[in-house]
């Protein structure tokens, strides 16, 4: 097996066990389901827990039909019952291996989620299967992965969450990539809260992927092409169209292994599919295009790491909740319930820039700025979100890490007057403090 395979997969197990600092420059296509050839276990049980605490000042809505009520963006997800809350955000247990150790060509990966988040809150049951895949490594240049697994795409979505350098996703990832599945666009009040009809997509789909990676000198190139249902996890398709995912990455490898591998990676991705949605006053059901694409780079060398990504979205733009209030809340007039909204034919884009510096062997300081421009085709709906996140990560040991984030958040409706209701509402967006402990086992 080539040196590159060992370099990547030598930490395939380590990724499950070790908690380093940065996750840049890792080959996520390999790490999320390939086993070390000839050196993998039949069944390697692993998992992690992420208890956390988050806090905002809990500023209430300053304007609109829900004025005086808690603002959804100041309440702690996923329950949104309080502006300060402890939560078991993620608690996952999985098993991965070869099944038949003599044959390294067949690998499997299973992962269950029992934490309190968008995966488990929406949908049946409090334990959900997030990953169940089989990888076939028989064809040189074309490995095949079948089942439910992370689709190739944006870096924040594709990377393993337990090596993520922050507690919360960027706005662009959270709103454009972490898909909410709704039955209606929310434009008719009688539809009710129009809540999600299942778990959030969790950056996963059910389908088949062809992928591999190649070495050319000091460069490693990887590709992936996947076809999936495009209807979230643990359920079948709801239309006859399939989503297509394409991905390419090229990395100049400086050295090291696994998630701490030092290198400079350039990547690009594209995904497209159709979603079924009831829209307008008639709530007639139709299929709408959903396209996402992005370009990004990661860099890691010695004590420094950098990440940047630009993402564009066309169609099926998640548009928050009515009046900025928690979905399901009755308005002040008692005439309507706030619902989730979707803009099926609008556009959005966003980007982030992220720096990390290893101040001490166990302490990393991080800073990230992210921007989301949502509903850019519609003046009245357009919203701009900017977040500056200051962070610190402390590794108690190789498997346990504490993360502290302070998010300075800002939002506005850029094409509306400052006195307009949306801007008065968004002026009330609080900063957010988050503290998380990650323990891998």
């Amino acid at each position: 097996m080539s040196k590159s395979i060992r370099r990547i997969l030598g930490a395939g197990i380590a990724l499950a066990l070790l908690v380093g600092t940065s996750a840049q420059a890792a080959n996520w296509l390999a790490l999320q389901g390939n086993e070390v050839p000839g050196a993998a276990e039949r069944a390697n049980v692993w998992g992690f827990v992420q208890p956390e605490f988050q806090y905002t000042e809990g500023m209430e809505l300053k304007a609109g039909p829900f004025a005086g009520q808690p603002a959804a963006f100041n309440m702690i997800a996923p329950d949104q019952d309080s502006n300060s809350s402890f939560n078991l955000r993620r608690a996952r247990i999985g098993v991965r291996g070869t099944g038949f150790p003599l044959d390294s060509k067949v690998n499997y990966f299973l992962l269950l989620e029992a934490g309190n988040n968008g995966i488990t809150r929406n949908g049946s049951g409090s334990v959900r299967l997030t990953d169940a895949s089989v990888t076939l490594n028989h064809l040189k240049g074309a490995r095949i992965r079948i089942g439910q697994f992370k689709y190739p795409g944006s870096e924040e979505g594709l990377m393993a969450i337990h090596v993520f350098d922050y507690i919360n996703f960027t706005s662009v990832t959270d709103q454009l990539m972490l898909e909410r599945f709704l039955d209606s666009d929310g434009s008719v009040a009688s539809v009710g809260a129009n809540g999600p009809n299942g778990s959030v997509g969790a950056f996963r789909d059910i389908g088949v992927q062809v992928y591999d990676w190649f070495d050319t000198g000091n460069w490693e190139h990887s590709y992936a092409a996947m076809v999936g249902n495009g209807n979230g996890i643990a359920r079948g398709d709801n239309n006859s169209d399939k989503d297509l995912y394409l991905y390419w990455a090229s990395e100049r490898v400086f050295g090291g292994q696994g998630p701490r591998r030092q290198g400079w990676k350039l990547y690009g991705w594209h995904q497209q599919g159709k979603r079924t949605l009831a829209t307008g006053t008639s709530q007639a059901t139709a299929d709408f295009d959903r396209k996402r694409w992005g370009l990004g780079t990661t860099f890691r060398k010695d004590k420094y790491r950098v990440g940047a990504e630009y993402i564009r979205a066309d169609g099926m733009i998640f548009n928050g909740t009515d009046g900025g209030v928690v979905a399901g809340t009755l308005n002040n007039a008692g005439t309507a319930v706030a619902s989730f909204n979707m803009l099926p034919e609008d556009e959005a884009d966003g980007w982030y820039l992220d720096f990390g510096y290893l101040l001490l062997p166990k302490l990393e300081l991080d800073i990230r700025y992210d921007r989301l421009n949502r509903a850019t085709k519609t003046a009245a709906e357009e919203r701009r979100f900017g977040t500056l996140t200051l962070g610190a990560q402390y590794a108690l040991n190789k498997k346990t890490r504490a993360i502290l984030n302070y998010e300075i958040r800002d939002a506005e409706a850029p094409r509306l007057a400052d006195s307009a209701v949306p801007n008065r509402i968004l002026d009330g967006m609080d900063d957010r403090i988050s503290l998380q402990l990650l323990a891998v086992f």
Partner: protein
């Protein structure tokens, strides 16, 4: 005769002894005598270290790997490397014998292949693969597994270990 074919040395000596015992030709004694002499001279070598590449080795170690724990693979290679680093490649003679589930270390596809090659090329560490295990795995897989090119096949791994310990090698099973 092959430097590693210690069994051949014994066979040669034994054949010469048998020839001496059955010989009746009066002209043969000189050949027999020389053959017997050669056997007597060679006999000690048949019991000595099988690898003449390290005539100055002061320590002889056989490392056993016979279980399928992937961490044992890393561990046995680390032990070999540490021995070489401590004593020096010329002062320590190391052979890794893999049998049973441990034979996976010497699969051609094993991710440790580059490291094995480095230890073999740079440090003279030898790797032996049990043919009995290869045969058993072939039956399970329904095809013969590819074996690392740096490995030598031995008829039986456990026999190889016993032979080496009989020749003064210390057995270590990390």
């Amino acid at each position: 005769m092959p430097g590693r074919d210690f069994a051949g040395v014994r066979r040669y000596a034994n054949n010469k002894i048998r020839e001496h015992n059955t010989m009746s030709d009066p002209y043969k004694p000189s050949l027999v005598s020389s053959g017997l002499l050669a056997a007597l001279l060679l006999a000690p070598l048949a019991q000595a270290a099988p690898d003449s590449d390290k005539p100055f080795a002061e320590h002889k170690v056989v490392l056993q790997i016979s279980d399928d724990d992937p961490f044992k693979q890393t561990l046995v290679l680390n032990v070999a490397n540490n021995l070489v680093r401590h004593y020096g490649a010329d002062k320590v003679d190391i052979e890794v014998v893999a049998f049973g589930p441990g034979l996976r270390l010497l699969f051609a596809e094993n991710a440790n292949g580059a490291r094995i090659h480095s230890l073999a090329e740079s440090s003279g560490v030898r790797f032996s693969a049990c043919e009995n295990t290869i045969a058993a795995m072939t039956r399970q897989l329904e095809y013969a597994p590819g074996i690392n090119a740096d490995a030598t096949r031995v008829p039986a791994g456990i026999v190889r270990i016993l032979d080496l310990t009989g020749e003064g090698y210390r057995l270590v099973k990390p």
